[in-house]
Symmetry: C2
């Protein structure tokens, strides 16, 4: 028998945030790819597009007109997945047909009036304004009695189902705590109840010691590839101190987050010299009015690209039925991302 080597041998890794395993197949990166390739448009966009329903001054599908905004602009999604209205409902207990109405609010956040920008191309001060709005929105929406969770996220790139290149993110605020957040919360809580400390605080300390998966670090935040990452270049931004949610952020911390966001997304763009697609979002304490000492602010980045701007990882078949699987190891991905410049390739 040869002895185990995580760079060459298939293995499973444990994700303590979700209490789940993933399959890592380092030897598989060598297989040839003859499958689908993604279109990546590298055309230069105008600063204002008369056909864009997110640009300032333009009319949206429902007839409303955007103000002539400058900087960040927030509005209710015209085609939300949730509705504010309360509905009458009498629950019928059932083994198989359990259903509950769900109330909530969907919002769109334009990051900038400039149609042609993306986060890595924005100034840190302007990204900070986005973080300010995240903080305010979390506070405002979370204060509503029927909103117990505020999900802030961004889908970037056509391949991530984003239908408009105008820089923007979304908020889905709702009555229930969504499945993945609840699972994370349970695992954070288990650790906190046992050790009296934050799981992610301890984890980040260990990662900084090992320094094998760290991509970026500043005074307040660390960006790393989790040991249990699923997507080829998945990363997580974690606050060094235990911050439960955005409300606790100081001005300095908001600036630090803006700065690490710029650097991380710049490295992403530099990886394949393309505007790098991803879904990203914040996990933080729910707004259900309960104490949440277990929570520790973090932000996930799930980018689909694997080998090039054209070839993505498909989470299909085995992954949908059995468990997530990755080819390149998190350590290999971290080395690559770490080695890339913080200066955007277009500059």
């Amino acid at each position: 028998n040869s002895s185990f080597n995580q760079k060459n041998h298939p293995h499973r890794r444990y994700n303590p945030l979700l209490d789940e395993w993933i399959l890592v197949s380092p030897q598989r990166a060598k297989r040839p790819w003859q499958g689908q390739t993604e279109k990546t448009s590298e055309e230069q966009l105008p600063a204002h597009d008369p056909d864009c329903y997110l640009c300032s001054g333009n009319v949206r599908v429902n007839g409303e007109k955007n103000p002539d905004y400058n900087g960040v602009y927030v509005f209710d999604n015209d085609f939300g997945s949730l509705m504010k209205d309360e509905v009458d409902f009498s629950e019928q207990p059932s083994d198989f047909f359990t259903l509950k109405p769900e109330r909530g609010i969907n919002r769109v956040i334009c990051f900038s009036e400039n149609h042609s920008l993306t986060l890595p191309e924005m100034e840190v001060d302007d990204i900070k304004k986005v973080v300010d709005v995240w903080q305010n929105q979390y506070k405002e929406l979370g204060a509503l009695d029927y909103i117990n969770h505020v999900q802030i996220f961004e889908n970037k790139g056509q391949v991530m189902g984003c239908s408009n290149p105008h820089p923007h993110g979304q908020i889905w605020a709702q009555s229930s705590i969504p499945s993945s957040v609840l699972k994370t919360q349970e695992n954070l809580k288990k650790y906190f109840d046992e050790k009296g400390k934050s799981l992610l605080e301890d984890y980040v300390k260990k990662e900084l010691e090992i320094n094998e998966r760290i991509i970026l670090e500043n005074e307040d935040f660390v960006a790393l590839i989790p040991f249990w990452a699923i997507w080829p270049y998945e990363t997580m931004i974690v606050s060094k101190r235990k911050i439960e949610n955005l409300i606790e952020f100081s001005e300095g911390e908001k600036l630090s987050l803006a700065s690490i966001l710029k650097d991380l997304t710049t490295k992403y763009d530099n990886l394949f010299e393309v505007s790098f697609p991803y879904s990203a979002g914040i996990h933080q304490s729910p707004t259900d009015g309960k104490p949440h000492q277990e929570w520790h602010f973090h932000m996930h980045f799930y980018p689909p690209l694997l080998r090039s701007a054209e070839v993505k990882k498909f989470m299909v078949g085995y992954e949908m039925l059995a468990e997530p699987q990755r080819d390149i190891t998190p350590e290999q991905s971290a080395e690559i991302l770490k080695g890339l410049s913080n200066i955007h390739y277009k500059l």
Copy 2:
């Protein structure tokens, strides 16, 4: 307040197989789509393609030559995610860096020597030969002492990461029981321990009574859209009697499965008059040598298309960070699929 109506109001539904919730937003189907569209190739393929590494008599990337097979042909995947070799490993207990080597076998199953076919276009007798091979493979691989789970699945279509249109599926057999299977097993077991009956047997009986989500039924199987389905046209084929795994299948049941597979995939193709992409796979008892009375054979179909052959559902952003979300309701999808012909549109 208006009173709750599941056709119009956002709600969450509970999935008892995974102990998870999903968000249903029926009102959202109306939003316009300006995002990415999928290429669907409708060119007629030749019965034999000299450049296809799955066609009979052709040479594969690793230099091996396929035999001049007729019907079903199985071989070890040249670029597997698993390796058969045993490796030496000493576990180091850790809160954050838990990892275990994983042994296993990856196989490819060509469904037919005919490059131009897909399951719905094959004869029922020929599909039955595929089911025969699934049964034999499950038995053969499951008998190996280091194989405790045999995942049989098919990725169909470029949009599902399938790199070769030659009709084929895969098997990933391994030492561990994968996350999703284990979760399903825990929930089946909880129900079985409480009620002394199979969760899916009881569920299917109720669905047949209600008859709102049933697509197809024959002597031995039912094809339905689960109450908690995630994908727009997700379906599940369930055996009427409690069969733990493929080994227990009679000849008659194998033929019944082949027949419902043909009818279901035909309806799928007829939906948008396109070769319908999906990932499909079997959930059945693990091959770990333990008793598994709780298990009940079923097959999941996860097709990505939503509105047309070109527009798929993106499981991104909110779905990756929070929980799965669907627009069209399972009942609406069932009505549509049920109404479609069992005769393939190409005939």
